[in-house]
Structures are given as structure tokens and as C-alpha cells.
Amino acid sequence: MIEVVDLYKSFKNHEVLRGVNLKVEEGQTLALIGGSGKGKSVLLKLIIGLTKPDRGKILINKQDISKLRGKLLKQLKERCGIVFQGGALFDSLTVFDNVAFPLREKTRMKDSQIQDTVLAELTRVGLSGAENKYPAEISGGMKKRVALARCLVMKPEIVLFDEPTTGLDPLIGKAIHKLIRDCQKSLNFTAIMVTHEIPAIFSLVDRVAMLYNGKIIASGTPAEIETSQDPVIHQFVHGELEGPISIQ
């Protein structure tokens, strides 16, 4: 279970998060929506321990990740995975080596076992046959799949997705969403997905939370968010130009 309590984070003089409170139950998938550049990715990086909050708590299975250091933080990170917006694949490694990387560095598996595991993972994400290609030689959709495979190969309990379908055409976007849903069902991980795919994402997640002005202003089922009468949520979910959210 992930619980964020009264979280603050600022960069120089700009306060990005101003008291975020959020809860994700075990095995659930939560979609995090909100305007661009408003701190959704920052929140993900805080949850996975890539950066420290100014104040507040981030509890993962009741352990505060913001207070952990050294070995304990490492152990907690090993139970989490993140799929970055651009994939963050190592461009000097092939698709196979990218997926094999965490296995080689974090486990004592034999080469033959690594080979089998990586090929199975690539098959799961629909990329068998692409293992010898470099990230520069594959499409955006394939990169996201490789990133997903690299993340899932370590069997994480928590997976964070930072706009996993940004920049993809609607069909490939839908295929990636379905793939994430299928993987979530088979591996039963807890997930937070930052996304702008509204309302398409509503049919794939258990809950939706909206970040606005550095706070979570609403958290509920997709149906509750979709039918919300709150003017901010209504304007954002329905993509209306007129409303309380100013477009800059």
C-alpha cells in the first residue's frame, strides 16, 4: 500500500507540491491526472525515492521512504519499478541487454536463466524478435514496451508509470494500456499511472486522483471523477477551454 501524507516539495522558490495526500490500496491501479508541469512526475520521483521531499511522509507498506537511507532505501527501491516518460532505455545497449541489465546487476542468475527470463518478458510485451535492436532503431511504442519489460523483469510489487502512452498513436496507446492492464492482472502489482489519456484511461484503472495547485483535489472511482460537478475537475476531464483553470 502507498500512502502520501501532507507532502511538500519546492524547487528554488517555486513550490510544486503543497500538501499532497494520497492513498493507493494494494493491487490497485490509480490514474494521476492534472495539468502539464504541475508536479505529477515530481510526485512519482518522490514516491520511488529519487528525490527527497521538503516535508511530509511517503509510506510504502508503512515504511516512510523519505526517512530511509542506505541499505533500507535500496531494499525498498528494489521492490518498486518505474516506467519513465521517454522509456529511459540505455542507448548503448540492445533491447535484450536493456532488459537483462537489472538481472545481471541485481541477481546471481546464470546467463542461460537470464536469456530465458528476458526472452519470456519480451514475448509478454510483444517484442520477440527485436532483442538485437538498439533503442535508436525501434519506434516509440516499442521503446515503451521495452521499458515496461525492463521494469517487470524484476517482478516489482509497485510500478509507477509516467505518461506511458504520450507521443503514441491512439491504437498503439490503447495496446500499451491493455498490456499494462494485463500485466497488472497477472503480476498483481500496485500501480500509479500519470496520464493525460482522459477518458480512455477511466475504463482501465481502479481509482483516479487529480492534482491541482500542488494538492490532490479529488480522489475517487473513475465514474465519480467523470461525473464530478466540481468546476475544476469538470473542466479538466471534459477538456473545456472555459472554466476556473486558466490556460497559459
Binding site: L50, K77, C80, I82, F84, A88, P102, K106
Partner: protein, 260 residues
């Protein structure tokens, strides 16, 4: 009143930024050396970086070394001949190369060829979140990116310096003996008589420290690069300029310490 204070504010800001940057750089280096001690040692990655920083710079070093030795012999010969001291050509060329030109020019060549590439590579890894990906996998980015480069720089520079000096001495020989007519025995005999172990050690200490300086500055600038392509381009320029200037300044201080 403001116009009186403005210059002090500017100077104050500059000094503050400079000291803060220096402190961050020192912490970066200290953190890197702290992690050197702990496993995994990633020997394969260190060898790969020695290939990148050292082996791939060899051709440039051979070219610059040979022509530096040749031009040095030519200039020195025409100066020495005025005093009838052309028999000193060998030691003058060798000592200049061993003590100064070898370490400094080879370091500047490595800065231009490998230092800039290191900053750009690490900078691109930073902006494309590859460093965050390493961190998210609970892998230490210092171990994977910084330490192999630091060690490779410290190992490669003395070797490149040695190649530069040897090729430079032979370049000087080609001009001194082949063109100007100094005898082969005089050229090498003078080198044997005047070049001591202390001179060779001076060059070695310099190139060791230059190897660390170049990779330290290049990795630091890449690791803390700014945003986007402009940030990486700025970081790369800063790395090359700062490394080159630091090499020359550090060379002066090392020379003054080692000569006393």
C-alpha cells in the same frame, strides 16, 4: 546609494557562486572516491573506459607528439646553434617533453577528444532520465558512470603521456639528426646524461593528476547538466574550457612545488 552597492553585489554573487560550485565539485569527487572502496568493482566497465579515453586517443597523441617533438627540435636547434650549443639538442627536447609538453599537451588532447564526449554522454543520460533509471533500480550511478571514468583517466593519462614523450623524442631525432645534422650519439647521449628519474617522476605525477582533473570536471559537468540540448551543449563547452584552464593553472603550481 544603490549604484554604489551594485558592483559589490555583483562581486559578492560571483564569489558566492564560485565557492558553492567548488564545494559541490569537491563533494562530488569525495563521494566518487568513497564509493571506489565498495563492491561491485565493475572491472569490465573500467577496461571499456580505458579503451575509450586511452586507446582511442592514441592516434591523436602519436600525431601531436611527433610534430611537437619535430618543431621543438627545429626551433631549439636554431637557437642553440647561435651559442654553439647544438650538442644540447637531445636533452633540451627530451626534458621539455618529459617535464612539460608531454603531460600538458596529452592532457589537452584527451580533454578535447574524450572529456567533451564524456560530458555529452553523461549529460544526455541525465536529461533522458537514464541516470534516474539506474537510481530507480537501486544501482549507484557513481559506480556505473563516474568511478570507471575517473579510474580510466588516472590510468590512461600517464600511458598516453609516455607515448607522447617517446614519439616526441623520435620526432626531435628525425629533425635534429636527419635534417640539421646533429649526430645520433650526441642526441641520445645527451638525453642519457641529463634526464634523471626525478624528471620522469615529475611528468608522471602531473599526468596522473591531469587524468583525475579531466575526468572529474567532465563527469561533474555532465552529471549536473542543465535542461535540454542547450544545457548539454553548455555543459560540454564549460567542461572543455574549465579542464583546459585548470590543467594549465595546476601545471604551474605542480611545477613550482616539484622544482623546490
Amino acid at each position: 546609494m544603490n549604484w554604489i552597492l551594485t558592483p559589490f553585489k555583483i562581486i559578492g554573487n560571483f564569489v558566492h557562486t564560485f565557492i558553492r560550485e567548488l564545494g559541490r565539485m569537491a563533494c562530488f569527487l569525495a563521494t566518487s572516491f568513497f564509493w571506489v572502496v565498495f563492491p561491485p568493482y565493475l572491472l569490465r566497465r573500467i577496461v571499456k573506459q580505458i579503451n575509450f579515453i586511452g586507446v582511442k586517443t592514441t592516434l591523436v597523441i602519436v600525431l601531436t607528439g611527433s610534430f611537437t617533438g619535430m618543431v621543438l627540435a627545429l626551433q631549439t636547434y636554431y637557437a642553440l646553434v647561435k651559442f654553439g650549443a647544438e650538442t644540447s639538442l637531445g636533452p633540451v627536447v627530451a626534458l621539455s617533453l618529459i617535464r612539460e609538453l608531454g603531460p600538458v599537451i596529452s592532457a589537452l588532447m584527451v580533454t578535447g577528444r574524450a572529456g567533451s564526449a564524456l560530458t555529452a554522454e553523461i549529460g544526455i543520460m541525465r536529461i533522458s532520465e537514464q541516470i534516474d533509471a539506474l537510481d530507480a533500480m537501486a544501482l549507484n550511478p557513481y559506480k556505473y558512470l563516474i568511478i570507471p571514468n575517473l579510474l580510466a583517466g588516472i590510468i590512461s593519462l600517464p600511458l598516453l603521456n609516455a607515448i607522447f614523450v617517446v614519439v616526441g623524442v623520435w620526432g626531435g631525432y628525425a629533425v635534429g639528426v636527419g635534417l640539421t645534422g646533429v649526430s645520433s650519439g650526441t642526441y641520445f647521449g645527451g638525453i642519457r646524461d641529463f634526464v634523471s628519474e626525478k624528471d620522469i617522476l615529475e611528468g608522471l605525477y602531473k599526468s596522473l593528476s591531469f587524468g583525475m582533473l579531466i575526468t572529474w570536471i567532465s563527469c561533474y559537468k555532465g552529471y549536473f547538466t542543465g535542461y535540454g540540448a542547450e544545457g548539454v551543449s553548455k555543459a560540454t563547452t564549460q567542461a572543455v574550457v574549465l579542464s583546459s584552464v585548470t590543467i594549465l593553472i595546476w601545471d604551474y603550481f605542480m611545477t613550482s612545488i616539484l622544482l623546490t
